[in-house]
Symmetry: C2
């Protein structure tokens, strides 16, 4: 059993409307020191395999095909266990 963590973030230069909205909300709540805020996704997966190389290949495929929209998002992942 391997545990994988996948981070999907919006590419630099692409507008993040959710982040802008949350930053605006924080400002209006008095947190003026927030200069920028970007929101991404964080996924924890358990994989029923012990083959690290195979798991890595699968995760890359999952990210490319479903988990991230590679036109506007970047992804990175960590494998443990």
């Amino acid at each position: 059993m391997l545990k994988a963590t996948v981070y999907v973030t919006i590419k630099q230069g692409v507008l993040d409307p959710q982040g802008v909205a949350v930053q605006g909300a924080l400002h209006s709540m008095g947190f003026q020191e927030v200069e920028s805020l970007r929101i991404g996704k964080y996924m924890e997966l358990s994989l029923n395999t012990d083959d690290r190389a195979e798991a890595e290949r699968q995760i890359k495929q999952m990210c490319e095909k479903l988990l991230a929209n590679t036109v506007v998002e970047d992804y990175r992942y960590e494998l443990e266990g």
Copy 2:
């Protein structure tokens, strides 16, 4: 300027319908080895301060008040720079 990373995850025991849906989609795409998948949020903030203790206090407040719903979500954060 400090950089903070905030992770918001759904509490253990609370149903994650988004994770269940994505796991189902991965299964139907042939990724049968995915045993579980949980989705959380990942936020990168720039804070216009150099006072680590103050920044930490602010981030905790932001999480409690806006960024996480502490009834069903956990949060953790890292500060750097």
